[in-house]
Symmetry: C2
Subunit: 381 residues, 2 copies
């Protein structure tokens, strides 16, 4: 009979960034042996895993050889060699989330088709093979241009307001997506294990940084109507089920002005919108991902307390050795916990850490979160 | 200006057991560099610290040399060479808790005198230099025999019911302590930083295993009267202040039948009675210890939710490679999180892990905790 806890079982994780680092708190908690592959020699996950390898996540042979050393393989970033994952699955290796899920998600055109084919509400989108193709089509402005691959933290996404804007787009396959005016951007994290047990977390509300297009506040629970929240959770659950997804799926949603719920994008892994769960939830998203991919019973997703997450991103005009200015001041505020990812170098808008604010009163948490945001600065020494 | 976060600052930890391992979740969260010294090559803390050294914690030179490499030195176990700590303090090294605190606490006779000299309520106790000395004194039975040093998890403690029992005691300095009939055994964790900021956690209630004399359930909040809880917290705070303690102090207390509060013993470090705080408290005890010894602002000690901790100790008749029988069954129960310490070998009553059960209703948590206790068994493969 298999056993994960203090055994010879090996979990492989592709990617050693902050998501992997935080996942390792929970593999350590369970005493599960971990192997981590990352291109960077000073990846945040390097310590706390049992075995670290430096290598290219997009290289077929590197991923294949790494995967063959472990019993179950997962990833903390989508930009990995999917052909190698598929090869490993054919060899009988457990890879969660699966290569087929990842193929759908890695390509925004495929992702869009998937929603349309499964009656999952989403903004309409049209595929174009090249810059030329989209430039010669007729459009109703504004619309959203998305490169089909490689988009991350707002990269590979542009608002196109006129023909002129279309001259500057890179020559890559892309989609032209209807621009949705919305009340709120929401997210729901869904966990599903191979046995088909499935659970959703409460709906969170996101506020974005205007320039960087990165999440600034994640608020749990979202301050929305219960009916809308229920709809959001069932739409998110449908996406996970139709994908036959295993592991965590973060589903980003738009709440339209007439309270429609539309799927924006998904991420097949622990997600920035779930960091609040470390302090806020009965089962945090990282423990839940591990439970899911190992086919263990899923933990409760209910919140213990209201929670807000503030991203700590590098100040715009600072590059170099990081200093967290005024971090001691924010630690004096009620219910504040900083998370420092362990990157020595800061750059404009680089994700360097996050701060969680918990409070029984979510509005009080929100005002403390604003103080945190105004007080701490991620600067160069 | 000093900075701890993603800097060259080095925190040294004497001892690499489960307390150190759990402390490292929070040093990682803050990205504070850690050096760990432990006699065992497979200490649970070995991975996740930045630098591990194998060595004897009671050896003067080993502790001295180790301490000289770090900026602040702390410990997760009391059995360390105090003379080396004192030498390091004289060299200007920050050692928290201090060697003088540790000297008082390491010796139960000194500890008893300390309480008596500072009007801290405690059971009366008499010092004897040897077995012969205590055997020739007259006693009112039963009373509690305690070796002045080396007591741990019920070792070095005996209930003496008659002269006959006194024949079997080891020949070591000891105290004869009045046996206190009590309603509850309680504990309060106090955090204090060098600036003198001080906070107490809510009172927890402890239930002990009859044979092993190890804690079986820790219940937060204790199901006691508010007045008693207030008294317990102020007594605990007084102990920390009189010791001028820096870091965490776990204060074990008796609640007598007429609701007196008496100090039993203290531990100058994160403590088993505070493990519930990882899931239950706004600031867990390990993060709080780090905040305290680094003179950072202390975090909130209030609870997010009711929590009960169940120790996972090795089954009586099992020695060998550990297996956590039925762990998947307990993971199905509401609000259950297992913590596996990472010891490959189980022995009767060895502390192998713990399980936290959270619930808004503490009585519901208590019944789930009992199910956990009945279901999971720590056995040899």
């Amino acid at each position: 009979m298999h056993s994960y806890f203090s055994s010879d079982f090996k979990l492989g994780i592709l990617g050693g960034g902050q998501l992997g680092k935080m996942m390792l708190y929970d593999t350590r908690k369970y005493d599960i042996q971990t192997y981590v592959l990352d291109p960077s020699a000073d990846a945040p996950s390097r310590i706390a895993c049992n075995h670290f390898e430096q290598g290219d996540l997009m290289d077929y042979d590197t991923v294949l050889k790494f995967g063959q050393k472990v019993d179950v393989l997962t990833f903390e970033i989508e930009l990995v060699n999917v052909d190698a994952l598929e090869h490993l699955e054919k060899e009988g290796k457990k890879v969660y989330p699966s290569s087929s899920t990842l193929r759908v998600i890695q390509d925004k055109a495929r992702q869009k088709n998937f929603y349309q084919n499964h009656d999952i509400p989403t903004a309409s989108g049209t595929y174009f093979a090249s810059a030329e193709a989209i430039q010669h089509a007729s459009h109703s402005y504004p619309f959203v241009w998305k490169s089909t691959t490689g988009g991350y933290d707002g990269k590979g996404v542009m608002i196109i307001k006129s023909d002129a804007d279309l001259h500057n787009i890179p020559n890559v396959p892309c989609i032209a997506e209807e621009m949705i005016p919305f009340k709120h951007e929401l997210a729901v994290i869904v966990a599903r294990n191979p046995s088909g047990e499935i659970k959703t977390y409460p709906v969170v509300e996101m506020e974005f940084h205007p320039e960087a297009n990165q999440v600034e506040y994640v608020i749990c629970p979202a301050r929305i109507d219960d009916k809308v929240a229920q709809k959001a959770r069932s739409v998110a659950m449908k996406v996970s089920e139709k994908l036959q997804h295993v592991g965590l799926l973060a589903v980003e949603l738009f709440q339209t002005h007439d309270d429609e719920i539309l799927v924006n994008e998904v991420a097949p892994r622990p997600h920035n919108s779930g960091h609040y769960s470390i302090e806020g939830s009965i089962t945090n998203q990282f423990e839940q991902h591990i439970r899911a991919i190992l086919d263990l019973p899923l933990g409760e997703t209910a919140s213990k307390i209201g929670a807000i997450m503030v991203n700590l991103v590098g100040a715009e005009d600072h590059t170099g050795d990081v200093h967290y200015r005024n971090i001691e001041e924010i630690m004096r505020l009620e219910g504040v916990t900083p998370h420092i990812y362990g990157k020595r170098q800061t750059r404009p808008f680089r994700k360097m850490g996050h701060v969680t604010i918990v409070n029984k009163d979510i509005n009080k948490a929100r005002s403390i979160a604003e103080k945190v945001k105004e007080t701490i600065k991620v600067v160069a020494k």
